[in-house]
């Protein structure tokens, strides 16, 4: 089963992204976390057999996006975790850095657009688990 997580410290961003994911049929029940640590706790108790899509903000107070990736990399379910990095401004430094993380599939510049949603849906790993 596909589980979709949204991690962002900005509640409005969470609200917008939940709406978009639902509207474009990626998931009916996105799981939102304003605090990255709680997202980690959630992932830790997941069983194998599920597949995870995460929209991850980079700049967050406390634990930022990179810290989250570091933890995920070490998890058992790591191979089933697909991450889209979401940021207000994409720069090359981030893109270079992301190459060190297998889990990162792509970058999305805020606000999330229709095109972004279509791209997520078309992803070969995720497609079989999506609605429609």
């Amino acid at each position: 089963m596909l589980k979709v997580l949204i991690i962002d410290d900005d509640s409005i961003v969470l609200f917008i992204q939940e709406k978009m994911l639902k509207k474009y049929g990626i998931t009916d029940a996105p799981i939102s976390f304003q605090d990255a640590r709680k997202a980690i706790d959630f992932l830790k108790i997941q069983k194998s057999g599920d597949i995870f899509l995460i929209l991850l903000d980079i700049n967050m107070p406390g634990m930022n996006g990179w810290d989250v990736l570091d933890v995920i990399r070490e998890m058992e379910i790591s191979e089933k975790v697909f991450v889209f990095m979401v940021t207000s401004s994409i720069d090359n430094y981030d893109k270079e850095k992301a190459k060190n993380y297998k889990n990162v599939i792509s970058f999305i510049e805020k606000p999330i657009s229709v095109d972004n949603c279509i791209k997520i849906k078309e992803h070969p790993e995720l497609k079989p688990y999506l609605l429609d």
Binding site: D10, I12, V13, I16, Q17, K19, M20, K23, N59, T87, S88, S89, D91, E109, K110, P111, I112, S113, V114
Partner: protein, 589 residues
């Protein structure tokens, strides 16, 4: 003191007693002290003669009982007489034989019938004296023969007309290497190298005179000799001959030849050399000028001799020259620094002179001046000086520190810049590359060494590099060092001329600019994120409102938009303030 004649020793061979007593009486009358021996027979006479007894004369009677042939008797007695005088006594009838005996070697003959004291005395003494003379003559002839034969000088006797050899001495045999027999078959023409028609005529003309000449002869082995011949006419064994003395002068002629050559060479060295040699006194009067004066000054030597040395010298140089020459009163030799002399074409030439005081040498009796034209050299030197002075002026004028490094000797020199720029006094600088290397900032060293090594390795000739150099007070200054490598003809490095420009100020400016840029970049980056966050939110909400017809709580969304817009406004104001601050802090360039 009265004269006492020596004892007269006489042998009388006489068988007739009466005749003997008569002769004995005569003899005692001639001289009081006479030693008379008598032999009655030839046998007795022989016994006495063989006993080595000394005799002055023998009186021989030809009629002896034991002798038949009187001729044999005379010959035998003469033979045994040991060269003493033999006087024959004969009867009147034998006068003819008596005359004949003279040719057999006797001294005189007397007729018994006419014998008297005076005749006998005269005959005895005359015969004795003649014998003595003969003896002396024979001795002297022997001596002369020995002188001829054993003379170390080659000599020969030859026939004056045929020029055929009559006698040759040992030295001549040794010189020509012919045997005596060979010589005796030769004429002197056989020794000549070539036919000598002139000599033939000369010898013929001077046939009876002494003469001497030079000629070449060849030895048996063909070797040619140069000879000096002296020849005297003589009479030799009845021939018209001449005795010739040969002096081999081959070695002398060779030596003379060599001497002449070396003399010539020496003259050539002195006269043809470009050096000007003069001999003069302290007043500048010449006593000798070498022919090269024509070459150096355009004035022939004989004209120079009429001039005075000091008149030829440039006005500005004359005092210096005179002062130096005066030093010769206490010094044997001095070298005068270059000075100018006037040539025949009124040009000035620079010359350099070594003076040697040989006034005490009677062969010279003057100051020997050996001069060399150094005009070209002086001109070159001047050019070089000019360029060096220019270099010095440039080095002083520039604010850069100029370094001059001698690669081979590891000597490093600086201009004043090392003091004005870095505070090192020239005297404090320990020569060498190490001194410079120690003062390079540790962080720059590795890069600098690598770059300088490459200059050598890739045979580059220039290097331009920036680094920090430590000052005398311990602080560092940024320098831009431009170096130029001077190489020899084989490409080996000789010197490195460097110019260190102080770029600390520029470097500081650049650093400041870079710092500001960095800060501005930071501001731009972070703020673009901060700015975009509320903007992205606004855009996202608007998008939602446009596409989601089913959104219920539109008011809530509008509130979010307002909140985000306010946030955005605050952020933009902050950016404006910060940027203004950066501009104010930025120093004026």
């Amino acid at each position: 003191m009265s004269y006492i004649p020596p004892v007269l020793k006489i042998l009388v061979i006489e068988d007739h007693l009466g005749d003997f007593i008569l002769i004995e009486d005569y003899l005692n009358e001639i001289q009081s002290d006479v030693d008379i021996k008598r032999a009655c027979t030839f046998e007795e006479a022989k016994t006495i003669l063989k006993s080595d007894i000394e005799l002055d004369a023998i009186l021989l009677d030809l009629s002896l009982p034991d002798v038949d042939d009187r001729e044999i008797l005379v010959k035998d007695v003469v033979e045994f007489s040991n060269r003493c005088a033999v006087i024959v006594l004969t009867g009147f009838g034998d006068r003819d034989f008596g005359v004949k005996t003279l040719s057999l070697g006797i001294s005189d003959y007397l007729l018994k019938d006419e014998l008297n004291v005076s005749q006998l005395s005269k005959s005895i003494f005359y015969s004795i004296e003649r014998k003595k003379s003969q003896k002396q003559l024979s001795e002297s002839e022997k001596n002369y023969k020995a002188l001829f034969n054993h003379s170390p000088m080659p000599m020969w006797v030859l026939d004056r007309n045929s020029l055929k050899f009559l006698s040759v001495n040992d030295a001549a045999l040794e010189l020509y290497q012919y045997t005596r027999e060979e010589f005796m078959n030769f004429t002197v023409r056989d020794l000549w190298v070539n036919p000598e028609p002139k000599i033939e005529i000369f010898v013929q003309r001077k046939r009876h005179d002494f003469f001497g000449f030079s000629i070449s002869h060849k030895k048996k082995d063909g070797e040619i000799m140069h000879l000096e011949i002296q020849s005297n006419p003589i009479s030799f064994d009845g021939h018209e001959a001449r005795v010739t003395l040969v002096n081999n002068v081959t070695a002398r002629i060779k030596a003379e030849d060599q001497l002449a050559r070396s003399d010539k060479r020496f003259k050539a060295l002195v006269q043809e050399a470009s050096d000007l040699v003069m001999i003069l006194d302290f007043n500048g009067n010449f006593s000798h000028v070498s022919p090269s004066s024509d070459l150096v000054m355009g004035i022939p030597a004989d004209q120079m001799l009429e001039m005075n040395f000091f008149d030829l010298i440039h006005r500005e140089d004359i005092n210096q020259v005179k002062k130096n020459i005066l030093k010769l009163k206490n010094n044997k030799r001095i070298q005068i620094p270059s000075y100018r002399i006037k040539t025949s074409s009124n040009e000035w030439r620079w010359i350099e002179t070594v003076f040697t005081n040989l006034i005490m040498d009677p062969a010279v009796n003057g100051l020997v001046a050996n001069s060399r034209d150094v005009t070209e050299f002086v001109n070159q030197e001047r050019k070089l000086m000019d360029s060096l002075q220019r270099y010095d002026i440039v080095a002083k004028a520039t604010s850069d520190t100029i370094s001059d490094y001698d690669v081979q000797k590891d000597i490093l020199k600086f201009n004043e810049g090392i003091f004005t720029m870095f505070g090192y006094k020239i005297a404090e600088i320990k020569v060498g590359r190490a001194w410079w290397r120690e003062r390079i900032h540790p962080e720059d060293r590795e890069r600098l060494y690598k770059n300088t090594d490459e200059v050598y390795k890739f045979n580059k000739s220039t290097l331009q590099i920036e680094y920090r150099f430590r000052c005398a007070d311990g602080s560092y200054r940024y320098v831009l060092d431009r170096s130029f490598l001077v190489k020899d003809s084989k490409g080996n490095p000789l010197r490195i001329i460097g110019s260190m420009q102080d770029i600390t100020e520029i470097q500081n400016h650049i650093q400041t600019i870079e710092d500001h840029n960095e800060r501005l970049k930071d501001i731009a980056w972070t703020q673009s994120h901060v700015v975009r966050a509320p903007l992205a939110r606004i855009m996202g909400i608007i998008d939602l409102m446009q596409t989601h017809d089913d959104i219920v709580n539109q008011e809530e969304l509008l509130k979010h938009i307002l909140h985000s817009a306010t946030e955005l406004d605050g952020i933009i104001r902050k950016i404006t303030n910060q940027t203004e601050q950066v501009t104010q802090n930025f120093p004026e360039c």
